[in-house]
Subunit: 316 residues, 6 copies
């Protein structure tokens, strides 16, 4: 196979060349493509820090350190997947509805072609746009959300669309199946005692960080699998899921979170699910240091890719 | 006089206490007040970098280094001015029209009370909101704009309101008198050969940075005075007017600009004008270093205050 | 109740307004107040890095991310506590005795009014000043000290008062009851084999980081409770208790320490103790990255607040 | 014309898309191309700081702020030039001779096709590799070198090839015509009183920074024109030519240098020369702040492009 | 004993004086010396980031926080060891073979005098140079390598000597006994499924990070001891062994790694082995934050020193 | 001559070895020494930022870029001067009187031996300590002070000794001859209209930055020479003399200042004066960027050295 695969770092140094994700071909095509990695640099729906518009390219930069064989999954990714860097959605900063249109417009051909999209945000509001697009293709989706926040608030400043309300909107718009959806890693101070309840009332299963710490990674993986069943699944990973020591470059960090090792193991555990779309959101490079947040983000996307490759390898 | 004046740094160290501007009283009143300093942390109308929402408080932090006597103007500011830190406008990030309403709502009582507002942005889109408010009080205004860009583009991404279009909108909305308005410091690459022409066609006098460098500061000051005459004047200072060596913390920096010394001298030269409002915009602290941008911003606001004090001292 | 409570972040963005702690009212009063949060920006008694004078305001900035309901403790803090940002003590940099006087002078009215003080340092030398003030109100106190150092050295450079000697001085001055006091988290290289012994000879129970790692958080919590009994307790938290990966912004960091999660769980475990005063010291923002140290500090203070609220709720 | 031109920033935000230089097409072709911009990320021939391997991509990032019309030169660049981002040379870090081979191999087809190369270093050692390649096409070249150092040392640590010896080697290898070559901006401490003499003995005209400051920019431009005459010229710009306040991100900074405005004016003055190749070297992003060095570098390359466009426009 | 020992931090502040390691005497002698700490600032054999040439002095700076008694090992280091800061090897940047010669030349007299060297890199390529030198003294060595990479690649860019090939070369050159050598902590994406196999085929025992996490620190320590037996051992510690949250300042970071606490415990567990040489490599201070990487590096070297002191104390 | 001179950077790379000033021998001797460079890392007498305790070593680090021949002065420094890095004064942080004693104790032998001291601060309070020591040797001194502040305030926070009062104290203690002393570069907001007057009333000539800008560098040099006459002169250079764009790393920066080029030319102009002591103060590396402040500081000290060498060369 190996239609589209990365440049070889043993002959061309990893710092050479314009930095696409993993130094993959930059081609805006769906022909002979299994996975399209794309940036969605929309970041003006945040409530505190802002700046994830620069995340896709910084994650691309850090992704050059990745190598094609994943020993934790024992998979040669590009033996099973043809992957391209599809470029970015031309969002409209400061205008969320127009940006949602641009997301839909860009993603629909990808989805229609049966290509799996992996998006790099942008803030968490973009996931609603992605779910709308994915819904047209796949119908109602199960949602796996790794996040320190439920993002099920009703509104912020009288506005319904922003990074703190996307999962409530997704339920309301009928894009996801709450009974097959799960939020993992929630922690930190809340606005009210009802915040967690209201996520649960929407139908989500919520596993808080403290519950996760008590139950262990393996147990959480089982719960996720049991929850999503064989539904088509969208996996959204907010980088603030991990502790800020591991991911300082984010917008609304919450202390007391999991390590990068725990995050990787969680994602690795999701083999065998019917994963149809992914995103990684809320990286803000301006607050990063030594690029550790961007590198972690790149590795999580790498694990997304590996999950797809695993699925493809089994399908063979 | 001295109704509202800063804390005394010879008895209370400048790093002590919650940082209001110059450690002035934080009072949301217009009684016995001549000048109200307020933050307008709206920043989602930018086309490149973003993050000036954090500027007002960072400028406040740096302003603690300021002292009350301005030797360049030979004025004890607080002998002639009662000044408060009025707090911030509660903007709505990602929603410019709503934010314009909030700006108007907050500023109208200030203006109505005859208090002179000095706003700390935020991106340059806020100036339109301020001009709308000031227009209700003063009618059409002369505009002095220190800036490396004209901000007279028609639109960005199909949208009419953002930080690159505010001065065109101000003319179109009849808020300013272009024949008494002037833009100083324009430089850098443009979208087209017509960019400068179209600012001039709108009626602005435009002095480019190269013209300024050739003519000298004194000459520019004369041209400004000649232009604005005795009109009520709004002075807007985009920090990208100065070279990025002096102000790295900004959103669309243009190299090859003036020094901080030149900027200060220009503002100091504006004595005797009928100044009715001010703002300082486009500081993005995340890109600053050693707080030099914020400190310069604080000093420019200090010169604004000094101009008001000079006017008050003459009025006596 | 809710006499003094934070601004509502769902209507006013958290980045708006001059940054007091949690955006609480800045009022220097004890009327209708349960807890007074105050800064003590004295930092010239350090032996290595310096600069915590800027910590109170940076912690205030990060505290804006906090929300009023603590799910880990299941408490709506401001249903039970009226809290103000009391401002800062006007310390005298470079003069420790004068600064101790200023601390006493500022804190005595707080303590006398039965208000619980939570101080933000400043370096660890300030705790002696606080204990002197608290002693006047409460008599001898139990001390809980989370710290990677005992701070029981005899002197530094021939001087008796600095951040490495405060707990020895507190014993010598009869301010604390060593038999009810405990130091947790001590680790790292020492000057001599007798360093730990001398802390124990002073009467402290000392739980080293390695002992804590072996025993587990629950066990440490029990030991603390058993130690302090029902004495009035002062809780001092040196941010270098946690590993520098979680708190790089500090003066004498020690590698190999606990995580932020462990730190939070420890503080959360202290419910039911007779806590009469708190401080959080040794944050140096200049060495922080992405504000993670300041955010952790704000969260620890938030847990202090929650402990007070729990006590108040039980008292009802 | 306009075969290859940048994306339109008025419809697609400048932060969108993988960052090529000015968001130009990334095409490794010489067909219908006038100028090829390429990275040469070789940096292991430095004597002090190191890391310019990351410069080409960081300069590309900052170049997104550039717009196509240059008002200082009154030229619509892409009306006269078709420009591509050619990608990078696959250098071999730590092996200078092999890297020189890779430079030659990559550049020869560009030069042979009559395309003008603009290279982004990398350290100053790469210029020798470029001159070797250009020499095959154009014969002996005049060299214009903006630099705070002559780079005519005999050797460093017993080695002949590194960033401090390139211009001596270029003379010795007969690649340049010293009698038509000139070095501008030299300043700072030297190893010996003979350092400047030996550059002059090699045949270079040397204008020190102090001589330049005394003579003025216009005069220096005249001297350059008089020196290079109508020879084919290679222009090499070491970013340490400007003062470190304007370009902190470099390897061997020398204080007391010119401003960015002076640097731009100098380059703009070189219209009408027979310019056949360019490079911009010694940017080290790790030491940059707020990206001001990278932005200045991008602007200098923009002026290179403008010079080519001016030549093309006259040729029409 | 105490021939050479650090300055006393209780009388001379730790920030005073030119920063040698732990403020030890800077003496280039082997007389009355047990351990020589030396810098080997060679860093041009890296494949991605570069800049560890500045690591030795930055580690020296951070090492000033260390104190002479190690409570975890219960050892007064300088009661048993005379230690000097021997200065640096004069490497030749960009020329690896010449640098290897300089390493040999500098280290041979140290080794010949029976002094134990502890080297501060520099990138991992230097270890080959050190092993060559140590081999002349001790014959074939056991190697303990803490590292997230095996460094057994065949070559990079057609070159055999660099930081990713050193341990393969060491086997090929007969410098180490693979059957007594062990690599611990390997993780992250690989070039191919055979990467790990080929390390094992060379004869190394490889314990991956995931195996280590499963087995526990104690178990790993046993395996190491069992592996190296009573052979003379060289211990090389690549700082990328730990997670980038704990050590951001490195060249090819791998997320999902151990904590600093785990790293320290591992090294502490190596008591009783016949340790004849050490190094700590791949610290790049430019990517560090709050100096936490350098501080961890200094602490690991401190544990090396403690191991030597333990051996000496037993020998008494 | 050349008794003590720097290591040769053409054979030993400048980044090698523990970083003494210019890589000079670290010898605490006055035998065969003309100039002793020493650090005085006392910084707890500041009124705003703090941290210059780390300046001496950071300046040493940057000084490694210096080379021995000064072309601006046409002098081979080490042909005429034997120079050592004398190490640091063991100051007592937080205790100014004791630190003054330590300064005197350390400097007296230097001065008594006829060696010229060049001190690296530390904050500006140290100059009083140095003047006390120098006074014992030379009697009353002329003082040349390059500074943006007069430092003639009466007291801060009720204390007489700190970095804002040193020059007033120096007059009061009879250490300097105000009629031969001069302050250059004063600018920025003041506490009162009398601040400048009171410096003049003490007897100082004060040339403000604006006066300097109007008069030109040459004129200022003449005024200085006319003022100090043939008196023994102490030259103190506060790095905040230059604009913060050139020296962000300082404690109380004042915008609108001179460039690094102007600063260097001023110092270079002081040939022929009877210079008996020097210091460079108020560098705070934590606020620096790309080390430009430290590099400028190193260059200014280099110009001090050159002045001494010029005097020595004439004496021959």
């Amino acid at each position: 196979m190996k239609k589209y695969a990365p440049a070889d770092a043993l002959t061309s140094p990893r710092f050479c060349g314009v930095a696409s994700f993993m130094r993959l071909p930059q081609v805006r095509t769906t022909d002979d493509v299994d996975v399209a990695i794309l940036g969605i640099p929309f970041d003006t729906a945040t409530t505190y820090r802002v700046g994830s518009r620069f995340a896709p390219n910084e994650i691309r930069g850090s992704s050059r350190l990745l190598r094609p064989f994943n020993p934790a999954q024992e998979i040669e990714i590009f033996d099973f997947c043809s992957v391209v860097d599809y470029g970015d959605v031309d969002v409209v900063p400061g205008f969320i509805e127009k940006s949602y249109s641009m997301i839909a417009e860009t993603m629909q051909p990808i989805l229609d072609a049966g290509v799996i999209p992996i998006a790099m945000g942008g803030d968490h509001s973009i996931t609603l746009g992605e779910l709308r697009a994915a819904g047209c293709k796949h119908g109602k989706l199960a949602l796996i959300q790794f996040d320190s926040h439920c993002d099920t608030w009703e509104e912020y400043f009288g506005e319904k669309f922003n990074h703190g309300t996307f999962s409530r909107r997704a339920v309301e718009e009928g894009l996801i199946l709450p009974e097959n959806s799960i939020q993992v890693g929630v922690r930190g101070p809340l606005y009210s005692s009802t915040d967690l309840d209201s996520a649960r009332e929407l139908g989500f299963e919520v596993i808080t960080e403290r519950e996760m710490a008590a139950a262990g990674i393996e147990s959480v993986i089982s719960k996720i699998a049991k929850r999503v069943k064989d539904r088509p699944v969208f996996l959204t990973f907010d980088i603030d899921f991990v502790d800020p020591a591991y991911a300082p470059g984010t917008g609304t960090p919450e202390v007391g979170g999991p390590t990068s090792r725990e995050a990787l193991e969680l994602v690795r555990g999701l083999t065998g699910l019917n994963l149809v779309g992914f995103d990684l959101v809320e990286v803000i490079p301006q607050y990063d240091k030594g690029q550790i947040t961007c590198l972690l983000a790149a590795n999580i996307i790498y694990e997304f890719l590996s999950l797809v490759a695993k699925n493809k390898s089994r399908a063979k």
